[in-house]
Amino acid sequence: MKKLVALLLAILTLSALCISCGGASYKNDVPVTDLMKDAIHTVPLAGGYAGGDSAYRDFKFKNIADITDQYSISYSKDGRNINFIGIFHAKSASDAGAAADICKTFLTNQKKAFEDALANYNPGEADKFDSAEVRTFGNYVVVVILTKSDANKVFSSVENNLKLDN
């Protein structure tokens, strides 16, 4: 009985440690700019990517600046291509959840903007909203508007850079 209780306590303690670390399976000290550099390397564009500045972040991701301490935004320079990658580092695990929600709102808004303005010109790009996704890796939140294949490349790149055994 004592051993069982001890085992249960150990499991509980370990779980508590994992929760307080915000997902201890990922690093928490990798600059988002490094993550972005590797990520866009996996999905190069002929016209290249432009970097979104703080104004871009503030207009497209309302209030995310309050809960994150780093950001990196890349969008296609060619207006015919809607490729987008955003990487944010949240201040805490709970902030990561809130940041992910803001990123999901961004996707909804971008889809509407595309349908209103660009769908007639670039109908082939519309499918990227089907594979648009937000993923969280510890305190890092990644949002993409890419093909399914490119999205997987970017997520893999970020995850590989953040895994603790790297």
Partner: protein, 261 residues
Amino acid sequence: MTDKKLWTSLSAAVAALSVLCIVLLIVLIVIPSGEDIPTNNPSGSTVLGKTDDMGQSYLNKIVFLGDSNTAHLCHPSYSKIEGMVKEDRVWTGAGSTLMLDIGITGRNIVYPETNESMTIAAAAAKKKPEILVITLGYNGKDLSDDEFIASYENLVKAIKEASPSTKIIAQSLFPVRKGTGVSDPEKTNARLNVLNGHIKDIAKKQDIKYLDTQSILKDSSGALKAEYSSQGGFSHEDGYHLSDIGLKAVLDYIKTHAYVD
């Protein structure tokens, strides 16, 4: 002829001439001669007022930056404006469209003289156009007011920094009418009127000019006049693309509301 008769004749001639001068003076002063058409727009005025028709030579000085309506200025299908705007004077994005949002200063246009892709600021630095007419924002009309204003202002500032000598004209957005791409023209035109107000305010704040072209494009209901709306072809009567008659009206307005010092 005796001296007396000569003097009498001369006096009569002078008197007749004087009467004629007085009559002419009366005609010139009293009877209105029609609107005074200035040949310059006062430097303090943001909105470009009516001027003489500055003709094709004025249009030749302009680079036009915008979306698909701008791209159509040099499209071969638009026969009524053929030759008025050369291809190398039209700046737009790849695919002949350009969206206004907070990312516009990072996005590329196609620099027509070399077909290179570059930012608008880079193009302005390279070309240093004498006059640049911006017609942007229809693709972006659903942005928040704050984002629309910030996006437009950032663009103007970037161009001014890249080419300080360029005279920038912010042209109003054009009205729309019901069509395959416009389901509620009243709502859309109301929104466009708000945005035109913002564009005019930005023009004043950034010390550039505003061209109120929309004023001659709309009918009594505030919608785009039927004859100015694309009736088919690749624009498929969508309600927001202009016909060649409409684009001619735009160019005629530009020529008769010129930015001249």
